[in-house]
Amino acid sequence: MTKLGMVIDLSRCVGCHTCANACKMSNNVPMGMLWNRVLTDGDEVLDGAQGTYPNLTRTYVPLACQHCENPACQKVCPTGATYKDDKGRVEIDYDKCIGCRFCMAACPYNARVFNWSEPDHDPDFQTGFKDVPIRPRGVMEKCSLCKERCDADPENEPMCVVCCPSSARIYGDLDDPDSEISKIVKQSNAYTLLEGKGTRPQVYYHD
């Protein structure tokens, strides 16, 4: 079985948002939304810090679809538009999405974004990888682990992984014990977010 996932080194993440923009570019994500966001842990402002000056800490947490093994979104999608593919990724078939937003209510990570209006693309043309479908208004979208890009060439990795200036992201097959990702997950005591929700994400984090 293939189980594609990612592990993110939070000690390396500097919160630069390069991954957010890389994803936006590669997947032609409209303005006003991002598939991948970089959050500042423990504070409500971007680049804030936890604590009172000068006793401060800060961790940046990049957050996108966790490609859960037990996805809450897939359970509730009435048309099966959200599905788990044969490589272990959670994907959306835009043609089947009826825009009920049940998946959005179910996702504990707020990983999904909805096209409430006509998608506002700036620039005004399709950016990124040519085979990424253009989503119409009224459908849901989210991180696809750059499905089209990665399926086109096995050497390809998701754009966020390629562009991260800190090399904080590792991508690979969690079911392959010899893969770099499997080794790192094991060695670094990597964890998943919101473990209590039982979704078993395939995106891991370590410090």
Partner: protein, 410 residues
């Protein structure tokens, strides 16, 4: 329609106007997207779903009373079966329509039929609501039929309809209650919804019966109202109990995120709705608790209205409180896609907490759907009541007589 009273014609006129405006707004919504509503990536369900929850409850309540009456041969309840089922049918049609207007891609809804995901509570809801509507119609058909054996067939239908009615609201509850990702996750969500369906549905039914009596179309004696009021009072108490259990279970572990949500309910943006519900539940219970007050139709009427409002409040805080604080709420938050975010630009697209208020087009669409329900109610009553009176002349006459003697006795 010639036989309609002038006041009814005027009412219908207003309803048609409301429906027309709402339809126009819905067309805008189809053209420009759900972006014209107040919903966002944070609060992704709004007025439509909130009212959907309310109207499913309003419908199930009426039907439970009517069907229970049939199944268990409770005469008094059997006598009000027609108005009860008409109310139920009108409400469930409203509920169904509200889900449809909420969809971002209604053109693809056929996908639910070609590839339904049976794990999804929405698919369950589709099935069970469809069945429920069918059962409503079947019961109505048999109720107005003068044919031999219609009554028995109606009884059979009731035996099916009763559990379906309970199931309808349970399934609707499970849309929220099974989601581990939100603070709705609770095992008593289904019983809570069923109970609030009963008290709100009953409350609406009482108000509908008052309306029909006032207009002279269907006479129901005070005694029957008082009897319904006992049932209402009991269910109100149960409702309060369930809410209390739910809040206690949420609050006790003092889990940080749940406390944030509770904070909104007690002191924050959904607090007005929470406290109004509690107050109205208590007040209506007190109003209906004494026999003497139950015999005061004004009090019964107001109490019923209060219960409906209180359940509407419940739908509001129940649905919206859990949207306010994302589980992972670090700065700058979620890319909200909200109305205000869409009208601005740059770094205004973020929201750490999500707020919601319906927009005018959204309200007009909801009003249109509700108007549609009221219209269905008026039309069905107008069309079916005469037939029912023919088919159940004795029962109707009994009620009318009792009502008259009550009036004489005063």
């Amino acid at each position: 329609m010639k036989s309609m009273k002038k006041s009814v014609k005027i009412a219908l006129g207003v309803l048609v106007v409301l429906m027309a405006i709402g339809l126009g707004c819905w067309i805008c919504q189809q053209t420009f997207g759900l972006g014209i509503t107040g919903m966002s990536n944070g609060t992704s369900w709004g007025l439509y779903i909130c009212l959907f929850l309310l109207f499913v409850g309003l419908s199930a309540g009426g039907l439970i009373v009517a069907s229970a009456g049939s199944v268990f041969h409770i005469e008094d309840y059997e006598k009000i079966a027609l108005p009860a089922i008409v109310t139920s049918l009108s409400c469930i049609l409203v509920a169904g329509a509200l889900v449809l207007v909420d969809l971002g891609g209604i053109a693809r809804i056929w996908r639910m039929l070609t590839g339904p995901n049976f794990m999804s509570p929405l698919v369950w809801d589709l099935c069970v609501i469809t069945l429920y509507i069918v059962m409503n119609i079947v019961e109505l058909v048999f109720l107005v039929s003068k044919k031999e054996g219609a009554a028995h067939k109606q009884w059979v239908a009731s035996c099916i309809a009763l559990p379906v009615a309970i199931l309808v609201h349970s399934v609707t509850a499970w849309i929220l209650g099974l989601q581990i990702g939100r603070d709705w996750y609770s095992s008593i969500m289904a019983p809570l919804f069923v109970v609030s369906a009963m008290d709100s549905g009953l409350g609406l039914l009482i108000l509908a019966l008052f309306g029909l009596r006032k207009g002279g179309w269907f006479k129901v004696p005070d005694r029957l109202f008082s009897k319904l009021a006992i049932l209402l009072a009991t269910v109100v108490a149960l409702d309060f109990y369930f809410v209390f259990c739910e809040v206690l279970a949420s609050a006790y572990p003092q889990e940080e995120h749940v406390l944030q949500t509770l904070g909104e309910m007690f002191f924050g943006s959904t607090a007005p709705f929470f406290w109004l519900e509690i107050i109205l539940l208590v007040v209506s219970f007190i109003m209906l608790a004494s026999k003497k007050r139950r015999q005061n139709m004004k009090i019964v009427g107001w109490a019923s209205a209060f219960v409906v409002v209180s359940v509407f409040c419940k739908r509001v805080w129940l649905l919206f409180s859990s949207f306010i604080h994302p589980n992972i709420a670090y700065g700058p938050g979620i890319s909200s896609g909200s109305l205000s975010a869409r009208l601005s630009s740059g770094d205004q697209i973020w929201a750490v907490t999500s707020n919601y208020a319906p927009t005018l087009p959204e309200i007009m669409v909801a009003l249109a759907v509700i108007s549609f329900g009221v219209t269905v109610f008026i039309v069905l009553i107008h069309k079916l009541l005469p037939k029912y009176k023919e088919a159940h002349a004795d029962q109707v006459a009994e009620l009318a007589q009792e009502t008259a003697s009550e009036r004489a006795g005063k």
